[in-house]
């Protein structure tokens, strides 16, 4: 007896049209059924049309700026979980200064101290039920790139293990074309007009007071790949100051950074400013126990396929006995409005992904910024 053909259901047609997973029986049917294949083509065309509409709807930067300003005018919210709280907007929003909240300094310092000691402080992450390996990979401002930063615990052939900020080990795989860079000591006199730099510091009235300046030169240069800052970004809180671009007007007290988007950021330096020179290195030259960041694409089981690995060879991480019941209490005072009621309640790195907003897909800038934040 002839049976009428069983065509794909609407859900299956739509899934196929959107490029989503299709069950094997449906896929087999689709391969031989012209009617269903035509339906999928039609829905696929609809998907393309709607995609155009979505692409046209770039979210304007001023909207989130207005939302955050309105939030500042409201009374504080209840705080059900330990928070990394952003400071109110400080001063005039300035393009090219990527602000991330005062607490970032404290959180990053906590990570720098704790990363070598084996403490897991990711209470927020674990309570949210997020797998640790997945949580350890940090989103960046580039949809295709993730990052991880922490202490390099081992190197096994092309594979590295980095203990991430939340305490979880992350396997980082490398390939022959993975770029490996180490930070070595430089001096302020190395900073000259034309130098490609990434600057990390504090925002002081629109000027970055540099804590660290990373100099890129030779093979380690990221010329042409420096980040761009999206419009409207300056609406966020402005306590941490970042700049990345080319040095002009170099002087003993500071310099100007010309960012690729045309903005200019004033940077002041002092004898306390750390100058790092980035030099090309290799996997074999990486040292266990040093702060290391990696940028790449997510691999299976929470691994990261790195296209960029950078190591801070200068920062000394205090060794903390693993038997200590609590993290050390010598962390910097995060200041008024802090969400850190006690050392035990300090949060993990929080959402470090926000640090990278504005860096675009520059793996160099992401890796360097991550290390600078960890080191400070």
């Amino acid at each position: 007896m002839n049976q009428a053909p069983v065509h794909l259901r609407l859900e299956e047609l739509i899934a196929a049209a959107r490029g989503g997973p299709v069950a094997p029986p449906a896929a087999r049917h689709l391969a031989v059924c012209q009617s269903c294949a035509g339906e999928v083509r039609n829905w696929n065309a609809v998907t393309g049309g709607i995609g155009v509409l979505v692409t046209r709807s770039e979210p304007p930067g001023h909207i989130i700026g207005q939302v955050l300003a309105a939030i500042d005018d409201q009374p504080p919210q209840p705080d059900p979980v330990p928070a990394i709280r952003a400071e109110p907007v400080a001063g005039t929003a300035r393009h090219g200064l990527r602000g991330h909240g005062y607490a970032w300094l404290a959180a990053a310092a906590a990570v720098a101290l704790l990363a070598g000691g084996g403490y897991g402080v990711s209470t927020v992450l674990s309570s949210a039920g997020v797998p640790r390996a997945a949580a350890a990979l940090t989103a960046t401002g580039c949809s295709s790139l993730k990052a991880v930063g922490g202490t390099l615990t081992s190197v096994s052939g092309p594979a590295l293990t980095i203990r991430a900020a939340d305490g979880s080990p992350v396997t980082v795989t490398t390939a022959a074309d993975t770029k490996v860079v180490r930070e070595i000591a430089g001096t302020l006199s190395d900073i000259a007009d034309g130098s490609a730099v990434t600057v990390f510091g504090t925002n002081s009235g629109g000027t970055v007071d540099a804590k660290s300046v990373a100099l890129r030169s030779g093979a380690a240069s990221s010329a042409g790949k420096l980040p761009t800052s999206p419009p409207g970004h300056g609406g966020l809180s402005l306590q941490i100051g970042l700049a990345s671009g080319t040095v002009t007007d170099a002087a003993s007290s500071g310099f100007t950074v010309d960012e690729p988007d045309g903005s200019r950021v004033q940077v002041t330096t002092s004898p306390a400013t750390t100058v790092l020179t980035l030099v090309t290195s290799s996997i074999g030259q990486l040292e266990a126990g040093q702060l290391t960041s990696a940028v790449g694409t997510p691999g299976p089981n929470g691994t990261l396929a790195a296209t960029m690995v950078e190591q801070d060879a200068l920062t000394t991480i205090p060794a903390l006995p693993s038997s200590l019941p609590s993290p050390p209490s010598s962390l910097p005072n995060p200041g008024p409005g802090s969400a850190f009621p006690s050392p035990l309640a300090r949060p993990s790195l929080g959402n470090p992904g926000s640090l990278f907003s504005g860096l675009g897909c520059s793996q160099d800038a992401i890796a360097t910024t991550y290390l600078m934040a960890l080191a400070h």
Binding site: R18, G49, V52, P59, I71, I84, R85, A128, G350
Partner: protein, 210 residues
């Protein structure tokens, strides 16, 4: 503004369980749920990240529903404020994106409540009835460029624009779409099919037919 996540419109999204996330859960959904928790705790940067991830899709959806770009932006602003205020109420019973869109839809409804009702010309749009069997004009969709289809979608009635946006723009499942629209899944199916038929008729009138 270069915000790649916001244009990843067709990615199927799975429901989120905050306290017991299954291993198979979409990693972006895990990240989103975590971000909402951060927002609930007062993390402004988390709100900005959510905006960057979903603002474009949400704005497109509002514009499809409302049809006025300026008003749509105002509604998007209302929506993000509502996300800030209501993040603690998010229970992970839906994907974050569909949760935000549902908020946006309510905000749009509030904004439009006092406006005169516009009667759409397309009767099938108003009724939500299933479309008639596919006719030869269905081929018109295949023949049209994506930009032409986009413009044609803009000419559809609100219900049709809205359902197509949710399924093919926001990437929601039919069940998620039904939840956002507060209608049965069967109605969503009927509405999607009717929308495509209306789209095909519109394109056929423009000459995109054999």
């Amino acid at each position: 503004m270069n915000i790649p996540e916001s244009v990843n419109a067709t990615k199927p999204r799975m429901p989120v369980q905050l306290e017991d996330a299954p291993q198979s859960m979409n990693r972006d959904d895990q990240d989103d749920a975590w971000l909402v928790r951060r927002v609930a705790s007062g993390d402004r940067d988390a709100l900005a990240t959510l905006y960057r991830r979903h603002g474009g899709v949400v704005l497109a959806q509002i514009t499809l529903a409302v049809g006025e770009p300026a008003l749509s932006e105002e509604i998007l602003q209302d929506t993000m404020l509502a996300v800030w205020r209501g993040a603690a109420s998010f229970r992970g019973e839906s994907a974050v994106r569909s949760w935000i869109i549902a908020i946006a839809r309510r905000r749009a409804r509030d904004r439009l409540r006092h406006r005169p009702v516009t009667i759409a010309a397309d009767v099938a749009d108003l009724s939500g009835l299933p479309a008639p069997e596919a006719g030869p004009e269905e081929a018109a969709i295949e023949r049209a460029e994506a930009a032409v289809i986009a413009d044609a979608v803009g000419q559809l009635g609100r219900l049709h624009r809205e359902v197509l946006g949710l399924v093919f723009g926001a990437g929601l499942t039919l069940a998620e779409t039904a939840a956002v629209l507060e209608v049965p899944v069967g109605t969503v199916k009927s509405r999607v099919s009717a929308a495509r038929a209306a789209l095909a008729r519109g394109l056929a009138k423009k000459g995109y037919i054999r």
